[in-house]
Subunit: 187 residues, 2 copies
């Protein structure tokens, strides 16, 4: 084989950072070359094209998100308190410099033109996250209630991912969550 191969995971992580910040259209392949350290030919051999790399970045981001949620809900605090922890960590993220919302949500809104496969991929990934919440909630309550509560959580996550751009919004989001999701153990 040729000179030591590049680290695929590392490249995808760098692509996530770039695409997450600037979006699909505003990220040029020249920026991708800079961000990943790869040459055009290597990128196109490994990922086929810009869309292929973007798709893989979206996949990896979604996997990370799902893992973080699973870890929280399976943690020592239990499922319901775990949900509180997930929501609170999203609020904290929004207070940090360079806050960038959620890669999946940004993609869904940017590429919403009908039939766009990247839009549909992002939607599917968000659905998977909702299903994750639902499956855990079904251990705590009946199926129909679990489904409604999972939808309500997603609705609030989406809201926070946009409202988080507003300065000093953290406390107001905390208050809203406590009122809107009284069935969670906020204490």
């Amino acid at each position: 084989m040729a000179k030591a191969q590049f680290n695929r995971d590392e490249v995808v992580e760098n692509a996530i950072r770039l695409f997450w910040q600037h979006g699909y259209s505003a990220s040029s392949m020249q920026q991708v070359v800079k961000a990943t350290g790869l040459q055009p030919g290597s990128i196109y051999l490994a990922f086929k094209n810009k869309e292929g790399l973007f798709r893989e970045a979206l996949d990896a981001y979604s996997d990370h998100s799902k893992k973080r949620i699973k870890d929280a809900l399976e943690g020592p605090d239990g499922i319901l308190k775990g949900i509180c922890n997930v929501l609170e960590s999203m609020i904290e993220q929004s207070t940090q410099a360079g806050y960038n919302s959620c890669f999946l949500i940004k993609t869904q809104l940017e590429l919403a033109a009908e039939g766009n496969t990247l839009h549909e991929l992002a939607s599917a990934k968000l659905d998977e996250i909702e299903a994750l919440f639902r499956s855990y909630l079904e251990k705590e309550c009946e199926a129909e209630l679990a489904q409604q509560r999972a939808a309500c959580i997603m609705l609030h996550i989406f809201g926070m991912r946009v409202y988080g751009y507003k300065p000093d919004s953290a406390q107001r989001m905390r208050d809203s969550l406590r009122l809107a999701l009284p069935w969670l153990p906020w204490e």
Copy 2:
């Protein structure tokens, strides 16, 4: 003067439709030429450049939105029921073919890179809408509570503008709103 001038409002409306659907980066000036019927020279004389036209489109969209909210809250049903009507009409929008979220929210997410003036413009417009809700709510309750409730409404609007892409989400959003905003007269 020269041959009959173009209708500025009409041009801006067409620009709104294009930018709202495809976003800033993915809308080319050639598409703008097609959508508005103007020639490049006329566009650049009237709006300076792509950003100038986009800014004016954002302004006009924001004005429409604020007017629709004002009309609803000053309507015969009263302020609180008027808020219910606004939220319900957003749910109905999301069920229609070609649903496109909200132009202000899409812009805020797409152009979130630090210091982007269009991102800041969109944020300011969304703030104005929150202030609108707050000013009306202050007629119904004390100032601090009005502020918290206005924030909560915005959080839910943002959430619905994203969750609305999910098929068959309307009923679930209705249920979530009734649980999360029990101080509104849903009846």
